[in-house]
Structures are given as C-alpha cells and as structure tokens.
Symmetry: C2
Subunit: 246 residues, 2 copies
Amino acid sequence: MMTIMKTAVPRYIQIADGLRQQIESDELSPGDQLPSERELSETWQVSRMTLRAALQSLESQGLLVRRQGAGTFVAEPKFERQAGKLVPFTEAMRNRGYKTGARVILFEQRAAATSTAQKLQLPPAAPVYVIHRLRLINDEPVLLEKFAMSVTLFPDLASHDLEERSIYEITRTEYGIIASEAQQSLEPVLATEYEAELLGIEPGVPLMLERRLAFDQEKRPFEYGRDLYRGDRFRFITEIAPLDDR
Amino acid sequence: MMTIMKTAVPRYIQIADGLRQQIESDELSPGDQLPSERELSETWQVSRMTLRAALQSLESQGLLVRRQGAGTFVAEPKFERQAGKLVPFTEAMRNRGYKTGARVILFEQRAAATSTAQKLQLPPAAPVYVIHRLRLINDEPVLLEKFAMSVTLFPDLASHDLEERSIYEITRTEYGIIASEAQQSLEPVLATEYEAELLGIEPGVPLMLERRLAFDQEKRPFEYGRDLYRGDRFRFITEIAPLDDR
DNA sequence: AGGCTACAATGGTCTATACCATTTGCCGGC
DNA sequence: GCCGGCAAATGGTATAGACCATTGTAGCCT
C-alpha cells in the first residue's frame, strides 16, 4: 500500500538519496571531499540551485559539512554520549576503541562564588578548587570540563593525578566519597574565545553545555560542574540505569 | 568586540530575524497565519526565493509551520518532557496548567511475546496484559502508550481505573510494587496507520519513541513499554534527579 | 441543505544566471 | 626556501520567472 507515497519524488530528494547511499555504503568516507556543486549539477543534469537543495538537506541531517571556498566534505561521525548517566568519560570512550587523553588547564583554589557555595551547600566564600580539564579523543580536544569542589572535603587534591585518573575514582578511593547520583541538564551554548581556543574551534561555534551537580551516597552535593562538549563531535542519547561508579 | 560579526548580514537572515521578533514579541501568536510568500516578498522587497529562505530558516527552528496550498502559520509551542525521568505524565502536564485525559484503547491478556517475556524475566508465553493507552492534553491526543505487565504479578488489574490513575500509583498502592528506576531510550520513528489514527495525525509523521523497562525496589523488571510521543508536540530535556513516584 | 466541482490562493519545485565571499594553490620575488 | 600576492576554484546569496501540487472557498445543482 502506498498511501503515503508520492508518485513523483522531487529531484532534489532523489539526488540527496543517491548521495546518502554513496556515503552509507562507504563509497564515500568521512573526510572525503565531494565533487563541486557545479560538477555535481552537471552529473545529475539539474540546476545548481536544485543540487544545492540536495546538499543542504544532507547537511541538515549531519551527513555533510560545507565550507565556503573550500568544498563539501563527508562529515565525521559523532561520538555518542549518554545523557543523564554518570559514566566516566574516559572509560566510555575507551570502550568504543578511542584513544583518550586529558590536560589540566586550570587548577586553583579560591573562595567560592556565591552560586557555587550555594550549590555545594558550603558557607559563603568557602575555599573551593576550581578546575578546568580538557579532554581529548584521538588527540583532538572535544570536551572542556569546568568544575568546583570543596577544599575542606578534599584536602590536598592537587597531589592526585587529575590527568590520568577519573575524579570520581579519586574521591572514592582517596576520600571515601562515592558519587551516587547527579542532577544534570543539557543546553546548547556558543563557544567563547577562551573555550574556542582550548577546543580548537572558532568562537561562536555551538557547544553542548552539560551542567552537573553530583551527590555522594549521603545525598550531599560534592561536585559542581559545567562540561562543554563540541556540538559537532557529540550527540546525546538517553538511557537511565543505576549509577555506575565514576 | 566583533570578531565573529559579519559586516553584512544576508538579507534572508535579516528577514528571518524580523519575523522572529514579531513572533517572540507576541505580535504574532501561535496559530496565526502569516501573509503569503508573495505578499511578504513584496513587503520586504526581495525575490520570493530569498523570502522562502527566510521562512525555511524559521521553520527549521520550529517557529513556523508551512502547509502547501494552505499557508504559513506560527507554530504552537511544544510541550516539554523530561527525558530520563520517571515523572507521571499526567502530573507533569497538569503542573504546567494543561488539562489532561486518558483513554484505554486496548486492554487484553495474552501470552507474552518472546522478547516481552525476556525483558520482564517471565517464563516463555507467560500471561501478560498488553495495554494501549492514549493520552490527551487539552483534548488533543499527544501520546500513545503501549505497555506490558505480568498477569501473575498484577492479578485483576482490569478492576482498576487505568484512565484516571497512574499505573505506578496503582502498582504501589494495590500491589506494593514501587517503581524505583527504569531503563529508557529515545529514538525518532514514523507513525504507522494505527498510531496515526489514534493520534490524529497522518501516517509517516515523526514520533518520538521512548522505550522503557521499569524496575521495582528489588530491581525486578515489572513494566515493559513503548511510548510514542507526537514529535510536533514535544521536546525532550534532560535532568536527572532521584526517582519520583509514578 | 448538502454535496460536488471549479477556480483562486498558497506553498513547493525547478531553471538560468549573475555576483559575492572565502579558501587554496601556484608563481614570482626576495 | 619562504613569503606574499593573485587568480582560480568553491560555496553563498540573490534575482526573475515558470510551472506543479495542495488546499480552501464559493457557487451551483440536486
């Protein structure tokens, strides 16, 4: 039954389907450059505008990347990140076969900002660590973590290796504080110049901001963070399960 | 500093911004019809193609709905649904000031399909209820729930009012089974004819499928469901908190 | 009064063309 | 050998116009 089938598929959709098949059958690989718009419009015997409609459709589906003056390229596939699940980032990515890395960009102790003190249920201006950590996959920066933790609760945190170890593994083994749940939210933001420089992108590029307040086994908040994921490298999927260790 | 500012904003983006401002300042309300493309292109003194580019931009941002032959309309705002959070649907929507309703479409007892028995950790072909329930907001069908539950675990379930009561409230108060957590996932699907008819849409319209396996306080699976949300009426946001009752 | 048909209004597809903005590569000069 | 400038290649914006497909309304006929 073809009740929802059109008898004539628009040309630009036919062309988009043809190109998508080339991408999905590995005839074209991520990073490959497509023939130019002018060449493709000759190949498919359509106007350049019709061809552009096809490319725009594929771009909006995340399959193509177009750069003015340079060309059209097959998009790299995005990493998948579990939304709403406290899975150690490094472990999750390594499980996918990626090489991971981390760099501590900032580690300093300062009086908590009012909102931070409030979130962490600390006295006003209580000392906290403010930590910025850059995460890399296959040597490419993809995530900038900014988080705050209480100095009182985690004395001498600097003595631990924050580049090689998960923060939650450190809190569990060194301080007996077990991450058990978290409040998280996702929202798109644009990269500032600072963030852009660290992530190797242009300012204004979209990032996914994951705000997080992690609680320990006594339901006490102990980590307040804002993770900034490159929007062009991640997509978020949702599955809830009992909290894994981090 | 204008390092990311272009000195010349494309005309179609200027027009899109102008129309967006009319929408966001309530000069245009949800459901309002916009002037025709031909009229707008005269108003803004551009070609119809340029005007169409502006409308397409707004459509992709979810602000406009265009229907061939009928016109262009300001989109109704979407309901927000917490992804990954077991909040009773009725309660969540009522809290937003919406009038909710429910209709049981199907309630039957049958031998569990293999996959269902497996998910619910039941013996093969164990008897289960298969329940389809249609949810309405302001008298509009927006969600089709399909779920399975063990007959053995919930004898005489039919005697309870599934239209007025939350399923989890029933399992808690009548059977002492408390929903404590769930595995959930989100994925877009297209409406079948059956689903489309119930939801008042055309077959092929996108739906968001929320698969769910709910566990009780002893970590036993007791409800296996597939919720189909109208994609044009919901968007999903993520925030995790300790599980509320359902 | 209801149903059907036709027409007008509306969005959708497509063409051909021109020009602009960005990127990249090559060539020449230092 | 390196750097800068220029030109070509590429995507982006815009125009003018034609024609197609769908929807809705009005008028006419039963």
